[in-house]
Assembly symmetry: C2
Homo-oligomer: 340 residues x 2
DNA sequence: TTGAAAGCGCTACCAG
DNA sequence: CTGGTAGCGCTTTCAA
């Protein structure tokens, strides 16, 4: 590989009989320089294709213009949209993003945090794993003066700006929609109750049921651990074969809803006529299933974008990291599976 | 934000009455040091939580241990799996990845390349945009001694290792499967003929048709430009309403196949009985459509992983960048849409 | 086995 | 308006 000797600031200075400082200033647009000097330097730099050495600049300024971003999984429609949004905004402000994933395991999240911290990222965007019940590894960022912004899956163990959708309200609205469609016996395939989003959705579900004078039954709530299609199938089977079959199911996320639909269809139970289904997250595939799946869109791209914006704002203004909450509006997407 | 003063190599040296060089050597495991010195330094570093300043190391060594990766889109099942694979392998070798997307536009690809080059990445993994018909912006990496590895969507304008699936053979096999199922009038919703993958698939389709003595008709080949569901619907409509309706359609990718299925279903044409459908790429949703969609899995994760491996290999051995081809095996996934 | 010292490329402070 | 210069933290010769 042919290494091409790169021209440096000093080279330009020597060639132009200027001092390195002057050249630096000219290139970085400082005010107190004569027009002609600036032009001369810029012309020369352009002509000789000068590229500043980023590593030297980073080193000197003690910053990298790189943000770290940790999500549970990259191969996941919602998270990939948040990444998309974060990258777009980061780019706009001259930042790059180094990605890492936790696979929803604390061990991996800690490893990734340390790696990113070691890399010298300027700040961190994170959606924590299901297992994250403490935040020492994140506090380490704050201790080094590097701000952290949490989004979607958050932990209260870290004082930092937090960006979420209103899971409670979204679930409430989704279930209310089912009720308005005439469903009366609504079950819930929920998630782990120690995971905040899941718990909020559960509360929203329950509140909607109770506000509308419907019966709340413990045995109509099933906790999915892996949030998988398989669990959706199995719990739906349990529900339907119990003495008290529901006439609608509100699912913690679309993949669980798919499992529910698969089971019902295998038993020739008509969706939405006999049983209505509501998902959550609005995965891309929800529009392609048969019947199409009603869901709640979380506007992942907007969320990623906003999270990056918050972080960059803190970076630019050297703001202190505070415990503020921000909300992204959700959108109820009504398709076939929930319309009687 | 409370900045905590980080301890440096010099601090350790002073404290231990050693020279910085000795400390550096101790920490980096040089051979010619006494056991006790090494232990003393390591203990001290550990105890005082010494973290080397990556920026200084990068600067000094003139490398970042960061790989650049450019894909057309991140929010795309196949590409997100390649990213997953690349990240996993990169991590294993101590590399990080900075992502960028081209949105399938040359302009954005060039911008991203320059950005990554400026960031000082050690090498580049890229799947080029549809518009990439020259490679100056990629050659710039090679000119600086930074290796480039292309994967999936490649351009011949750059001499570099290339990693692809055998689109020709995969298409040939997929179409052959349709023929064996008894379909005789097979159409093809193809892509842009100036995009290599698309052209290869087209050739595979055509060869399979001809090898089995079936009729090849120009008007059974429709070129999709955006590779969208909408195009899938429209071209399928055209095909079905022409005098010569096909009895199977081989689609350039799954999303086009979904469009085809939507149109057929809107006309109550039975899949796979009346018309068989074959996709390509094996998007996650192919397993959830009704009927489920047969497709070709490209093993994206393996591809990303292998691409990273090739790049890191070059980096480690300082190998020259050569024009070698590597192949990832595909897998024909037969589901309902293609089985009469 | 260890130390001294140079220097990577750049920025920023202090002078003039 | 411009120059001189120190120094960021680390690695790596060269010398001892």
């Amino acid at each position: 590989m042919a290494e091409k000797r790169k021209i440096t600031l000093k080279d330009i200075a020597k060639e132009l009989n200027l001092s390195p400082s002057t050249v630096s200033r000219a290139l970085n647009g400082y005010p107190s320089l004569s027009e002609e000097t600036i032009q001369m330097v810029k012309d020369y730099a352009e002509k000789h294709n000068y590229i500043p050495n980023t590593m030297a600049v980073n080193f000197r300024k003690n910053r990298t213009s790189i943000l770290g971003m940790i999500v549970p999984q990259i191969v996941h429609h919602f998270f990939s949209t948040t990444i998309d949004g974060a990258m777009e905004t980061a780019k706009k402000h001259g930042y790059s993003i180094i990605l890492a994933q936790s696979q929803d395991m604390l061990k991996d999240e800690i490893r990734a945090s340390q790696h990113l911290l070691g890399m010298g990222v300027d700040g961190l965007l994170i959606s924590v794993s299901n297992e994250t019940k403490e935040a020492e590894h994140l506090q380490a960022f704050l201790d080094e003066g590097k701000p952290v912004v949490q989004f979607d899956k958050i932990t209260d163990y870290l004082v930092s700006p937090k960006l979420v959708v209103d899971d409670f309200q979204s679930a409430y609205d989704a279930v209310t929609h089912l009720i308005k469609q005439g469903y009366r016996k609504i079950a819930h395939l929920s998630g782990r109750m120690d995971v905040k989003n899941a718990h909020e959705r559960y509360k929203g579900y329950r509140k909607a049921i109770e506000d509308h004078g419907l019966e709340f039954r413990e045995d109509w709530v099933k906790n999915c651990w892996e949030i998988s299609e398989k669990e959706g199938m199995e719990f739906t089977k349990e529900l339907m074969e119990s003495g008290n079959a529901p006439d609608a199911i509100f699912c913690i996320t679309d993949v669980v809803a798919l499992g529910a639909m698969k089971h019902l269809q295998s038993k020739s139970i008509a969706i939405p006529q006999q049983v209505g289904i509501m998902g959550f997250s609005n995965w891309m595939l929800s529009d392609y299933t048969s019947p199409t799946l009603s869901s709640v869109d979380q506007h992942g791209k907007a969320m990623g974008s906003k999270a990056a914006e918050l972080l960059i704002e803190i970076l630019k203004n050297q703001d202190p990291v505070t415990d503020e909450f921000h909300e992204i509006k959700t959108e109820l997407i009504i398709r076939e599976s929930s319309q009687k």
